[in-house]
């Protein structure tokens, strides 16, 4: 499996997936920490990949998504954004409607 297939496979298996630095319990970067906090506040369980543990995924994702930094939040395989966008969506209520009220929640149960 090449790196693109690996990314696609991860995205297919996890409807809400955060590529981050560190883990939700021990984020290794302020931006990853803010994103985890927003997701936890919304209360929707999410999967994560610690990009420090997989350098290949880390480099591959930058190309895959045309997005050069981390964290990156994906919902149903689509890149939603990094910390700025996720935190902004949390404040506006969009994150909750995307993750909790919409069909994402139903699909993954």
């Amino acid at each position: 499996m090449n790196v693109n297939e690996k990314i696609k496979d991860q995205l297919e298996k996890n409807p809400v997936l955060l590529y981050m630095k560190g883990t939700p319990d021990f984020p290794q970067c302020g931006f990853s920490g803010q994103t985890v906090a927003a997701l936890k506040s919304v209360g929707r369980p999410f999967a994560y990949v610690n990009i420090f543990e997989d350098p290949e995924i880390r480099e591959g994702l930058k190309v895959y998504s045309n997005w050069p930094t981390f964290p990156q939040l994906y919902v149903n395989g689509e890149l939603i954004g990094g910390a700025d966008i996720v935190v902004e969506m949390f404040h506006s209520g969009e994150l909750k409607s995307l993750l909790v009220d919409d069909e994402v929640a139903a699909e993954s149960d």
């Binding site: 290794q28 970067c29 931006f31 045309n66 997005w67 910390a83 700025d84 966008i85 902004e88 969506m89």
Partner: protein, 101 residues
Amino acid sequence: MFCYTLRRFEQKAALLNMDPAEIKTLIENGLVGAQVSVFSEDNTHYAALIICADFAGKRPIARHQMIYQCLGQRMGNEIHAMSIRAHTAEEWQELQSAADG
């Protein structure tokens, strides 16, 4: 081990650090007519405010990608992290008056 890697990375980033004015110019060159402000306390982490008519009708992710496009390989390398606010002039005015009100 990790702390060591991080420290090394930060040292490397510090050697390559960029002046906020340079970033401002790169974005202005890429987005015609944009009004750009870039701030940094350490020349590694930046905060940028970009007002541009071309953002109209675009989702935040597309706006950020337009900005990343201007910065190319520098994003994630010399520029370790940049917080971005991307708005049209109308949106920005609305946000300002909401903040004042």
